[in-house]
Structures are given as C-alpha cells and as structure tokens.
C-alpha cells in the first residue's frame, strides 16, 4: 500500500472516529442529571424563569431534534454559545486552551529533554551507581501525586523562600488582555509559569526516562553497536549518534499520546496554582451542565489525541523504514 492510500484510509477512519466521539459525548452529557439552570435555582431564579430559559436553550425539545440541530450547527463550524456565560464558546475555550498549551508544552519539553538524556545515560552506564540512583529518583517522581509535588514546591519556593508568586498567570492590577507576546512573553509571566511547569515536568519525567533507558538496553545489545565500537568510534559518538537515536523511536508514540492528554490540562496543577486552563474549565462546564462548552472542550482535547496518533503513525514510517503502511 502506498503512502497516499494509507493517508486517505486513515483520514476516512478519522472522520468516523470524530463522528462517534461526538455522538457519545452528546448523549453522555445529556444523560448527566441537572440542566444549566440548576446553579441559579437556589440563587433566586423562579420556576417560571427556569422554564423560560430551558425553552430558550431548546432543551425542552426531544433529544434527537437537539442532536440534529447541534450537528447542523457544528457543520457550519460553530460551537455555539455557552449556556451559562452567553458568549461564543470559541472565545471562552481559546484563551484557556492557549494557557494550557503554554503550561503543559513547557512541562513536556522539559520532561522529555531531561528524560531522554537521562534515560540514555542510564542505559549506557548500565549497572553503575548513576543508573541505580537515577531509577530511584525517577520512581519517586513517578509515584508522587501531582498535588503533593505542587504543594511541596509551593511550600519551599513561595512560603519559605518567597521567590515566586503563589498562583495565577501574572501580577494583578496590570493591563488585561493583550496579544500572545504581551500575555506570554513577559518576565512576570515566566515567574508565574515556573512552579506549575516544574510540577508538570516532574510528573511527566518518569515515562520518557524509563522508556528511553529500557530501549537503550535493547539497542545496546544489537550487533551494530559492537561494530561501531570496534570501528574505534569515540564512545560519545556511538552513544549519541547510534544508540540513542535508534532508541528514540518508541518515544515518538508515547510523546504523541502524552501531548494529546496534556492538552486537556491538568485539573490538579491548575487547581493548586490557580492556572486558568482547560482542565478546570472542563470540570466547571460539566458541573454547570454547560453542554456547548463541555462538548467543545472535550472535542478539542480528543481531537488533539486523535490527530497526534495519526501524526505518530506517519512519523513512525518516516523515522523507521522497516515499518510499512498496512
């Protein structure tokens, strides 16, 4: 099978996956008890106001009609309006999605840079004290709950040393809004980013480290490594150019999936550091029965996972000629 046919077939599968994903989401959210008026009922909304609002939102229609209306709306590229905020869903989601990408992206990059390097070295120096110590450190990081890591970092760097702010994305009282650079480019932002990103990095670190180490061990047993060594190449060249490179392959898949999952944000990190990202917004929209926002948020996150998988498949073939399209 050629590349083109493979891509087309995967694209068709992709469309079907999206449709199924959407339909399941739609049904699941409507099955959750409560509706968007629940949160107002004890705050003064009367029974009449409630009925009127439900009708306004079309929630008094039969489910299949709501479904058809929603699909029609989606096909025009419109995620609709938030039931609670009464603003376009896209405006609500985009900002938080960007916040999440910046935070989780930073955490992932740090985790994978450190993880791959350490994992490779651990594999290379098999049996050394470095490897044994490294495994202990990695396992400790892996088994530490996110909230605990966050709280420890807060205690040390905020409450004890006072080096970093305790929460948020920027110092309060300044200009709000602004473009990408103004938002994410300032020193103040980096100060706010440091602790949550470090928390994420520590949590994500274990997977690439351990995976890299074990593939390294496999690769190092291969004959070509012996040959390269016999050729008299410097150890460093063999390590980086031959062993490590060949070990990176399985990481591509793992990284793609991790990236997808990370884009949903981490509710825990976002809660501990009051980071206004996707994770908390998903929780809020589900709790408030704000279906359009919840659907869009899950859709976005699911899409990243689905697409990253697709990309990983393609990248695999490119990186390793032994893998074939089938």
């Amino acid at each position: 099978m050629g590349l083109r046919e493979f891509v087309i077939r995967r694209l068709v599968q992709l469309v079907f996956t999206f449709w199924a994903f959407f339909t399941i989401l739609f049904v699941l959210f409507r099955m959750v008890p409560g509706d968007p008026t629940s949160m107002f009922l004890l705050d003064g909304m009367t029974a009449e106001q409630r009925e009127q609002r439900i009708a306004e939102l079309g929630l008094d229609q039969p489910l299949h009609i709501q479904y058809i209306n929603y699909i029609e709306q989606l096909l025009t590229g419109d995620f609709g309006q938030s039931f609670i905020y009464r603003e376009p869903v896209i405006d609500i989601i985009v900002v938080r999605f960007m916040n999440t990408i910046v935070l989780m992206g930073t955490a992932l990059v740090i985790a994978y840079l450190i993880g791959v390097t350490f994992g490779a070295l651990m594999g290379w120096w098999r049996g050394s004290r470095f490897e044994r110590g490294g495994i202990v450190v990695t396992l400790v990081a892996r088994s530490s709950p996110e909230f605990w890591v966050g709280i420890v970092l807060l205690s040390v760097f905020v409450f004890w040393l006072g080096w970093f702010p305790s929460s948020g994305m920027r110092a309060t009282g300044g200009d709000l809004g602004g473009g990408f650079v103004q938002r994410y480019g300032s020193l103040d932002f980096l100060r706010h980013l440091f602790l949550p990103a470090l928390t994420g990095a520590i949590v994500y670190l274990a997977t690439p480290t351990l995976l890299m180490r074990s593939t390294m061990l496999d690769v190092l047993k291969a004959d070509f490594i012996e040959i390269k060594k016999a050729e008299g190449l410097p150890e460093r060249t063999v390590l980086y150019k031959h062993a490590a490179r060949n070990s990176v392959l399985p990481l591509v898949t793992v990284m793609a999936i991790a990236t997808g999952a990370a884009m949903g944000g981490s509710v825990v990190i976002e809660t501990v550091f009051n980071w206004p990202g996707m994770g908390r917004e998903m929780v809020r929209s589900v709790n408030n029965n704000d279906y359009p926002v919840a659907m869009a948020a899950f859709f976005l996150m699911g899409s990243v996972v689905i697409i990253m998988n697709f990309v990983a498949d393609l990248a695999y073939v490119y990186l390793d000629p032994r893998v074939e399209y089938e």
């Binding site: 107002f40 705050d43 909304m45 409450f159 929460s167 948020g168 920027r170 200009d175």
Partner: protein, 554 residues
Amino acid sequence: MSRGTQSRRNFLRRAGVAGAAGVTVALAGCADDDGADGPDGADELGDQLPEINFVIPTAGANSFRNELGRITAENWEEIGFEVDLEELEFGAHVDKAVVQQDFDASLLGWGGTPERIDPHTFILDMHHSSTTGEGGRNTPGYENPEYDELAELQVTQPDEDERQQTVYEAQEIIARDQPRTYIANEGGMHPYASARVENVDPTLGEGLNSFWNMISVTPLDGDTVTMGYPSEIISLNPMQDLATPDRQFVRLLYDQLFRIGPDGLPRPWAAADDPTIEDDGETYTVEIRDDMTFHDGEDVTIDDVEFTYELYADSPTYSGLVEIIDEIDTSGNEITFHLDEPFAPFTANVLGQVYLFPEHIWGDVEPEDLADFQDENWTGSGPFQFEDWERQSELQLRAFEDHFETPNTERFIRIPGADVSQLVGDLEAGQIDFLGAIPQPATLDRIEEDDDLDAAVFEAIGYAKIAYNMRREPYDDVAVRRALSYSVPKEEYVDFIRDGMGTVTDSTISEHNEFWHNPDVEQFRLDLDAAREELADAGYGWDDDGMLHYGADQ
C-alpha cells in the same frame, strides 16, 4: 482536610455512645437500643415503612452537610427506618430535589441574601402552596390552607407590627408541621489580612462579600484592595440570570433606589428619603437624589428611573420582579408606583432590587436582547466603576469619585480562585487581602495563629434544612416528619462539625433577623426517645428487629 473531619466524626460517634450512657452529649443513641426500652407502639403490625431515599451533598460539594447527613441517617436507622443514602454533586442534587422532586428527604441549604431579610421569601415563596411546582421553592410540597392564608395576609399588611404578628403565627404553624427540619443558620468566618487592610465590615448573611464591606474596606498601604473568591463571575449584565457572586459585583456598579442596610432594613440610596406610602399600601412615591451621575458623566434623571422600571417590565428574565406594579407616573424629581394590590415587601424586594440603568445606553436594546447585551464599560451610577475584566484572571474596579458614598479604596480587584484552600495560600503569600469564602476549621486555626491574618465572624439568615417530600407516604404524616426532625443533631452540627460557626434554628426565620424572628416556636433538638414517642402515639410499631412498621389499623 478529610482527616480532620474524620476524627471529629469519630469523636461525635464516641460522644453519642457516651450520651446514651447518661453522660453529657446525646447523639446517636446506643447500639443495643432497638426500641425495647422506648414506647411499645402498635401491638399489631402492618407493612414495614419504605426505605428513606435521603439525598445529601457529596463531601466535595459540602463537607459539613455531608457529615451531618451521614450522622442523621444513622440516627434514623436507630429509630427503625431503613435509609438509602444518596450523595450527589450540587447540580444533580438541585435537579433531583427541586426540579424532579424525586426524593424522600433532601439536605440542602437556602441562602440568606440581603433581599431575603424581608420575611417574604422565607414565608411565602418557600412554604405557600402556589410554589410546589417543578423548580418551585416549596420543595416539600407543603400545602396547608390555614398557613396559605397567613402567608398571603402578611403581604398586604403595610403596618409592620401587624405584619410581624402574622409572620410570627406563620412560623409557629410550620414549626409544628415540620415540612422541613430547620437545622442551623450557617454563619461563618471570612479570613482577611489584618496587616494589609482595615475597616472590614462583615455583615449579616454575607460576611466580607457584603456591599458594605466592599465600600468600607481600606488598604493600609497603597491604593488597592484585592479579594479572592472561589468561582468566576459569570456576567455583570444585571439583566442576565445572576448567581450570588455576580450580584455581589453588579450591585457595586449599579445603584438601586434603596439598599438593604447592614441592619437588614432597606434604606434610601438613590432615593432622597423613605417612600411615601398611600392608598393602604397601594401607592408608593419616591423622590430621587439630585446629585447623582452615571460613570460616563451623564446625570441620573427621573426619566432614567422610569425607563429602568419599564425595562424590567419588558425583560423576559425579570418581568416577574415588577409585575405587581400597575402604573408609573413621574413629576419633577418624584416617581409614583401604583400597585395592583398592597405589597408590604415592595421597598425591600422591588425598590431595593431593581438596578438603575442609563437610558442613553440601554434605550435601544430590544427586550429579547437584554440578557445578551454587552455594555463594554458596564456603566451604572454605583460607588465603583468598571475598569477591566478578564473572566478567568481578574476583575478590576475603580472608585467612582463623584458618588455620594465614595469607597475607601481607590482600586478594587477580584481574583477568581480554584478553591478555598488555594485562596488561603494566596492570602498567606500576600497576593490577596481578603477571602469571601469559609475555610475548613483546621485552616481557620492556622489563620488565627498567623499575626498578619484574622477572620471576620458573621451570622446568617439562610440555613441548612432537610426537606421531606410530602407528596409521598409516609412523609405526608406529620408524626413521621416530627420524629425524623427529632433525630437531627442540630447542636452537634454547629458545635462540632462546624466548629462553632453558626447558630441552631427551629424556625424558617433566623434569630439574627431580630424583628421577624419568632423566638417561641416549637423546638426540635436531638431526642431519639421523643422521636419514638411521636411514632408510637401516631400508631406505628416496631418488630422484633427494631424495624418500624405501620400499625395494622393504620
């Protein structure tokens, strides 16, 4: 935190055993008491009573009430009921109990916002037979013609003493009938940084979230006060469905003719003086102040006020609020409201709740677009003016210097937090100055030990309550409801679970609402023997396993 509550709960259990052994705190009765030492009840038994479907909040939704619910369920089992405890998140709970009305007993709270200090909401809305429908506030489905008459009468009594008498009688009836167990007014503590702000003014029902605190709180250094609150503001549009946190800020930007004062009574605000009430309470005339402007510099005129009331009448969301008004006319600086019929809470509940809108901004908005309208500066005439807002990060307000009640802080910033403990961290780290939410008791201890921090205590008029679904058997029987009420550990809830925050109540009107509260209503405190007696007297009986049955002739 969960460890803290857990140990308190164990303590409560131990206290319960001690209580049954005749020491001090009676809580859960003792284990071997299956009704044998209590009243005998019916000799010949019918069917066993159906299991109670008892809906309570999850520990995450409300840890205090979750714990209370669990202990109450154990007590109910103690007197012979079977209990099916169902823990739900807030939205699902409201849906099941208030909208679907599919429950036997439901433990929820009813908030005590300032406009509810007038007894109208607690007397009529919550207990009149006209509000038993889907989503209505009479969740138990309580229908009592004798009570309805009183609830309707108090509305028409402009004389406060006469109205007080009626409200007193109404409280007696519902205390006797127990459509709900009225448990406790959940006052609390809001932490603030005493090293950074002064003049905090916690008021009844709202603590530091009150309007009066926001204009009173003063920064000791600099010109800004920053508050934290564990949720985002949904909207600043007064025409949209508003949740409590929204209203806390809408009312800073927009004025009303009257405001509910810290004492709970409406006081003239944009109005120059108290209203002139004529025609046996059917006509209200109000003169407005002549020194007010909107934030954009335009004068607040009598035409704006008239426009405002017409806007409300046209609003799909809020027309109900002003439907009692038949006609409006203005003359000079005066506006006169002619009502369909006398409506005693008119000043507090209508004049005190309708926000004044600038006609030059809202004049062209169609009624169906009101709720979606975005005035980018949210121009009102209130003591604060809008500066900037990013929902997920912060809201920035600035003092409106031309207001007759200029706030003590030049700038006011509100940060939406992830949850209460995260915000306490912000308070300790110096990022916020006060917090409009109640931390867990263990955290409060930490705050009180900190020299820079303090906690402002306030009482509440809202309460935690258990509603009984009177549409179903056996909850249509007053004896069953009274027996269930006798099994709720109210004092223990306040003293131990809430660590002393709040006060026990037996009436729908809080004791902190002094003028309207009837101190002599029947009291229901934890007393499992009294509970058994209620049941025995009504003809119920117990089998050999201590399970409760209908009497054979019931």
